[in-house]
Amino acid sequence: MNSITITNSIRFIGLVLLQGLLLKRMEFGGAFFEYIHVLIYPLFIILLPLRSPTTLVISVSFLLGLSVDLFYWSIGVHAAAATATAFMRQGLLAVLQPRGGYNLLFSPTRMRMGTPWFLRYASIVMLFHLFYYFSVEAFTFVYIKDIVLDTMVSFVFSMLALMMYVSIFDPVE
């Protein structure tokens, strides 16, 4: 097992526990606050190494979502969103490819790719993930207004949490 695998395994466990034990409890009541849901575990999908095969990215993300689901008592909901997000990440990386291509030894981190690039990349993945997650949770587009509101509000707070995490640990890989 090389160091990148170990790093990502630890991140997997860490983010699942952070999400499932801490952030899950940060649910609020009230007119505006009920829309706040902080999801940080998509960061794991965001930070997977660039050279990981698509099949692996998707499979691991499925496991990630399923693990979070165990804490949320919502088997399949996070897994569906994480799987779709992983699939979308692979396409997004191809679109966002900088001139000259990626260094395939790197991971798409802030340290490696620069803050503007990383922010853009992370926000698109996060926005997609949140929208997909809230759609599967509602399971119908009848409540599209609530889905969009949930997505917008949660996006702001999830990105705040994500940036805090990134600035505290500032991972290279």
């Binding site: 499925f62 919502s74 399949g76 897994a79």
Partner: protein, 275 residues
């Protein structure tokens, strides 16, 4: 085998995504009561919707049958109207004795072939000798008059429509009771002309034109159309009246063949007069 492997390698991402997404959604429906309810409700709606579509299609395919039975029912009801009955009304010692007897019998028929845009137009009905159709019977609809049967085969009847230059129907103005004849100039299939209405009559635009009951082909009072416009040429003694047909000859699909049960009596009397 190698090809299969390559295919998986190339599209592995999509396959893995599809497979795991389906598994996830299956788990969602399996383990979450809310989503399960939504899923099965939607499924029910969808099935019900599909069911309704197929039912509608079947109904549509059976429309012909329904229309046939409706036309039969209509014929039976039209026969019960006053103008289809022969009335024996005799005053005896100031006791009025009224006796109704069927005079006109209607047979519903489907128009299986038609022309409307020629100078002389004929319809073919799917009723013939076997169904008791006779020559010179009138053909009507609920809305108006179609024409007169001119030829009958075993299963079919040919109708000379009002849109025929030889067609000449005895009609009357419903409001005033004055008579005239309805002819066609071979031009517009929506309009016919009313002739032989004398100068002293005062028609109004919109006056209803109906059958007179004198031809023995139609019951009295079957609507034909309404007066669209009229004028009188200087020096002429008769009006020139344009009548808009109440039945659309282009779209009409069903008609009723009218059989006058008393006709033979009248015809033989007329023959006697002629001699």
């Amino acid at each position: 085998m190698r090809k299969l492997f390559l295919l998986f390698l190339r599209n592995g991402g999509l396959l893995a995504f599809g497979l795991l997404e389906v598994i996830s959604l299956f788990l969602v429906v399996q383990f979450n009561p809310d989503q399960e309810k939504i899923f099965f409700n939607s499924l029910n709606n969808w099935v019900a919707g599909t069911d309704a579509i197929s039912q509608n299609t079947l109904d549509y395919l059976q429309l012909d049958t329904y229309a046939d039975s409706l036309a039969r029912a209509n014929a039976q009801m039209l026969e019960k109207l006053d103008n289809a009955l022969f009335i024996h009304q005799i005053e005896e010692d100031s006791i009025k004795r009224t006796d109704w007897e069927q005079q006109y019998v209607l047979t519903s028929a489907k128009i299986v072939d038609k022309t409307v845009s020629r100078k002389n137009n004929f319809f073919i009905l799917n009723r013939g000798e076997r169904h008791g159709i006779k020559r010179n019977s009138g053909v009507i609809t609920e809305k108006g008059v179609i024409g007169v049967v001119v030829d009958v085969s075993k299963d079919y009847a040919q109708v000379m429509t009002v849109l025929h230059q030889q067609s000449r129907l005895s009609v009357a103005l419903r409001r005033t009771g004055d008579f005239g004849a309805l002819v066609w100039d071979g031009d517009d299939d929506r309009y016919v002309s009313l002739v032989d209405v004398p100068k002293h009559v005062q028609p109004v635009e919109g006056d209803t034109i109906q059958t007179s009951g004198f031809s023995q082909m139609f019951p009295e009072g079957v609507m034909l159309g309404k007066i669209e416009e009229f004028d009188i040429e200087p020096g002429s003694n008769f009006y020139d009246i344009k009548v808009r047909l109440s039945e659309d000859m282009r779209t009409v699909k069903y008609g009723y063949v009218v059989d006058n049960l008393k006709r033979a009596q009248i015809d033989s009397l007329k023959a006697g007069l002629g001699e």
